[in-house]
Amino acid sequence: MGLRTGDASMLDERAALREITAALQESGKLTAPVTMDTRILQDLNFDSVGAIDFIMLLETRLDTIIPMDRMAEIETVGDLVRVLTRPDAAAA
């Protein structure tokens, strides 16, 4: 289950990583353990469209939003965790 409204802004890194792992599982992309260094496009075998769809899935699970201009910062799972855990990351 994803977190409820408002929880996203209080995510710590471990919880964010857990949610990312669960979302990867949901989208059938979890083939090996995910670390902060896992590269989203290369290691998880997403193309650019798939990666954006995955981010949308994550946004829904966490009931948050990640503005498109923040997407450019996201290369690794660690980058995604930071975007999710920084208070100004999502507009929640």
Partner: protein, 401 residues
């Protein structure tokens, strides 16, 4: 400098290696709105967006020729310099009257209409909410806008609401952007629900009627007319390069102060204006569109015939019948093969590959025209079914053959 395109070049070479280059088709001649010559052979055009077939409307051609003779081949200037002639102003008034709007401004292409409109309307501190399947011109306009950009799930008013809720406490205007008909699959926006979400949030709504102008609504004004929500649409964008058979784009609205956009939309200000020939043909084509509502009926029937024919041939089709019918392809290789085989059968369709397609899935995209005959559509269905069967894609008995 061009090294970064190595992967793209390799991909393009792989797509072209299966036969013809799908993105480099050059017709020897275009014979009509429905037929062209390619390598000396006649082909049926089933991927043109020429919805009403007005590219060969005799009165539009005559108006275009007369305008060229009278005013020359081009304006050689932008709308805010020497590039506004009486025809440009008259076209804007004509368009506003047709749409029932107070104001309209004309851009040189539909792409530039979205670029200019979005970048001028949504500045720093504002918010743009885009449908995930938006056209590239909308995404590009959003990149130029300086506003914070949020995508919502395609045609999902609840996801839009959720995102508007998150943004509620943030300052700045919120502009939602949706399309009347989405170009890849031919599906329409659930506009009434989008309007409801907009009202609840106190947001603005821009509707791109590029593929729905002249196609939907009793008078051809588009999806907003068909859904009875025109007063709720704050901005309408559209193009002249589909149902009106030429090139150009527009932005229309009822808002006070609209003309400020003429001095702020850079895609309007810093490019040459439409040539007199195009302004004249588009003005005449609006008359033709208004005077010939039967074209819309024929377009609808043609879309239904193609949709029904392909469904009977065993193809899984997504969207409801519309002038756009797309066949989802299992993979890129099959899509390329299908496209080549179909062209060999004398039918030109569009090969659409990711990332331009929803979910990046390859599509064989077709669009009908009002001036296609039932016999032409039947022949196309037969050809598509034959190719589909040869590639193992049309699963059930081919009732259409």
């Amino acid at each position: 400098m061009l090294d970064k395109f190595r992967a793209l070049r390799a991909e393009h070479a792989a797509v072209s290696a299966a036969g013809r280059d799908p993105f480099g088709v050059t017709f020897d001649a275009v014979l009509s709105a429905t037929e062209a010559v390619l390598d000396g052979r006649r082909v049926l055009l089933l991927g043109t967006n020429n919805y009403l077939g007005l590219t060969f409307d005799p009165a539009s051609i005559e108006a275009s020729v007369a305008a060229t003779r009278a005013q020359g081949t081009g304006t050689t200037g932008s709308r805010i310099a020497n590039g506004t002639y009486d025809g440009h102003a008259a076209l804007e008034r004509r368009l506003a009257r047709f749409l029932g709007r107070r104001s309209a401004m004309v851009f040189t292409t539909g792409y530039q209409a979205n670029l200019g409109a979005l970048s001028a309307l949504a500045g720093r501190g504002d918010h743009l909410l885009l449908d995930a399947d938006s056209h590239a011109s909308i995404y590009d306009g959003a990149r130029l806008a300086g506003a914070q950009v949020t995508r919502f799930r395609h045609n999902d008013p609840d996801d839009l609401r959720r995102r508007l809720r998150h943004l509620a406490s943030q300052p700045g205007e919120k502009l939602i952007v949706v399309e009347g008909i989405y170009s890849m699959l031919g599906d329409t926006a659930p506009l009434r629900e989008m309007v409801a979400a907009k009202r609840e949030a106190g947001a603005w709504l821009l509707l791109d009627e590029a593929h729905s102008l002249g196609v939907l609504g009793e008078n051809g004004r588009g999806l907003a007319e068909a859904e009875g929500v025109e007063p709720e649409i704050d901005f309408v964008v559209g193009t002249f390069s589909k149902s009106l058979g030429a090139i150009g784009g527009f932005l229309a609205s009822d808002l006070d102060g609209f003309d400020a956009l003429r001095l702020s939309a850079r895609a309007y200000m810093f490019t040459a204006s439409l040539p007199p020939s195009t302004v004249a043909s588009v003005t005449q084509a609006i008359d033709a569109m208004e005077a010939n509502p039967h074209l819309r009926d024929r377009l609808r029937r043609n879309g239904q015939q193609l949709h029904a024919g392909l469904a009977a041939a065993g193809f899984a089709l997504g969207a409801m019948p519309s002038p756009i019918v797309s066949l989802p392809m299992p993979d890129r290789e099959t899509a390329v093969m299908f496209w080549n085989h179909l062209l060999a059968e004398g039918v030109y369709a569009n090969l659409a590959l990711g990332p331009a397609t929803p979910g990046g899935r390859p599509l064989l995209r077709m669009s009908v025209s009002a001036v296609l005959t039932p016999a032409q559509i039947e022949a196309a269905v037969t050809a598509i079914a034959r190719v589909g069967r040869s590639l193992g894609l049309a699963g059930v008995p081919l009732a259409a053959e």
